[in-house]
Symmetry: C2
Subunit: 352 residues, 2 copies
Amino acid sequence: MPAEWSPQSQVWMLWPERPDNWRYGAKPAQGAFAKVAAAIADHTPVTVGVSADQFENACARLDPRVRVLELSANDAWARDVGPTFVVDGHGGVRGVDWQFNAWGGLAGGLYQPWNRDDQVAEKICRIEGIDRYRSDGFVLEGGAIHVDGEGTVLTTEECLLHSNRNPQLNRAQIEAQLRLYLGAEKILWLPEGIVDDETNGHIDNMACFVAPGQIALAWTDNVDDPQHACCQRAWDYLQAQRDARGRALKVHKIVLPQPLAHTAEEADGIDIARNAWPRRAGARMAASYINFLISNGALIVPAFDDPADQIAANQLADLMPNHQVIQIPCREILLGGGNIHCITQQQPVGRA
Amino acid sequence: MPAEWSPQSQVWMLWPERPDNWRYGAKPAQGAFAKVAAAIADHTPVTVGVSADQFENACARLDPRVRVLELSANDAWARDVGPTFVVDGHGGVRGVDWQFNAWGGLAGGLYQPWNRDDQVAEKICRIEGIDRYRSDGFVLEGGAIHVDGEGTVLTTEECLLHSNRNPQLNRAQIEAQLRLYLGAEKILWLPEGIVDDETNGHIDNMACFVAPGQIALAWTDNVDDPQHACCQRAWDYLQAQRDARGRALKVHKIVLPQPLAHTAEEADGIDIARNAWPRRAGARMAASYINFLISNGALIVPAFDDPADQIAANQLADLMPNHQVIQIPCREILLGGGNIHCITQQQPVGRA
């Protein structure tokens, strides 16, 4: 699996629609998704999958450079339901089609059914005419892994060892699956992700590689915030580790925004439905600048109308000086449970 | 618009599904469509559009060489709802997205709604990333026209002058639309199509070009069949015409099968629904061998388990000696109201 800073041929997204997760019939979220798509399209071709019902609306709201096609899903998390693209030694691109259970199935998953989500990776591979590896018997979401492109995988125990993903597999067996599908050698296990992350601690909200041997880690100095101890445990773990090439890791702290919660008005704009995760006023959201996308020289980074927005942008710009940092207001995406990295899936360039 | 014998990059089809048009939940029709797709795939890449509900079933039943993607429609007539592909002087391929009203709208159309059908051409063009001309204010189906690739269009008065298509346009205005969108110069107007054709006499069931200046015409010598007079009128008309290049036309008679009608068992296997065309036992079907597809050196020709099957195959082989004739049993497609040409839409090769 190539690192996210490797050349990309396109980025996949899905169109938000379900009114029991996105307030006001998803119109505010659609606006935010459209801004993200347009920002990426300045650097990389974008394809957005959309339900038949939303086709005309999506075509009208999305930047004309975006390719829109019919591709239904149960929600809009291309990172987690799209294929993880891998490249073989000859430059051939293939897709890993992870078994998907809506972040926990019937034991803490976020909605049911998830049958359309679980078809998305296959559909994308068929559209592109690329071969596909289906991981039947091994549940994973794309947001649960990050790679350095040189044999190292970054993940969290909170997610991959959770009893609602692969209870039949132990840590060594899960590592074997990651090595097999991702062509990886070394797995780095942070204890946790961001607190109150409904994905059970996806790595892509907590930490990511910014170069081989270098990791950006979400950080707060506020010792009164339970998030602080999580960050400290991740820091301590990483200081003691080496990557697949034997390098010690350089860890860079990236500021977190102030704790953010659903407002009463925001919560009230969401359909009440038995089979979808409730969004309650006052519930803390898993806001993090780490949930950005790297795409062909650009960093597409969330903004939260928070004093830390500019600090985070500066920190990331310092870490990846050859990249342009673009910030997009993302509260409407965060309200649905994720952010820019969660709603995108990059497809690497194949054979040169 | 290139002639159908020009090189093709792919053929588009749609997957039959609606149980109020295809008997027994469309399973027999799906088998026939799959055979057509496989036969084409021996010569030309095939893409089949399918609803989300039918995705897994279609993938399982179709030849693995077929590209399956989500593309919903109200039924399965790619010829009539897909784009008519045209090529500009520099080899650029574009799609004509004809306004569609389900073969007659609320005045004799075959079902309603037809909103998904009317989106198919746009969706195909977006998938392929090709430009599109939308004919708002001009209703046409792809099966209502044939071309010789050298400036001549073949159509029928019965269809194009029908009051349920473009009542606001006279013959000259309709000719102007065809010239505009197809890059054509001369329009040839057969009086009618096949009798009892629910499309109001589509040309692609009645006559087609097999080469510039040469036309294959459905024919019966049975003077007791009302079809005979229709054939004779077409013959007489064509004898008096010249094509866009000024050539007299050589017309070749292609045998028709015996009159075929829905059996009671066939009619009984179809859902009863208010907004779909009824299929009644004893109703004559518009069976014709002319409804074949030319694709990269192959003729994919309907068979009806009729003594004329072999005669028609031989006649077509004689007319297009550089093409391989492949016959597919097509009664299950005919039961739904069309045949091989109706369920396919060829995309020409563009810039060399």
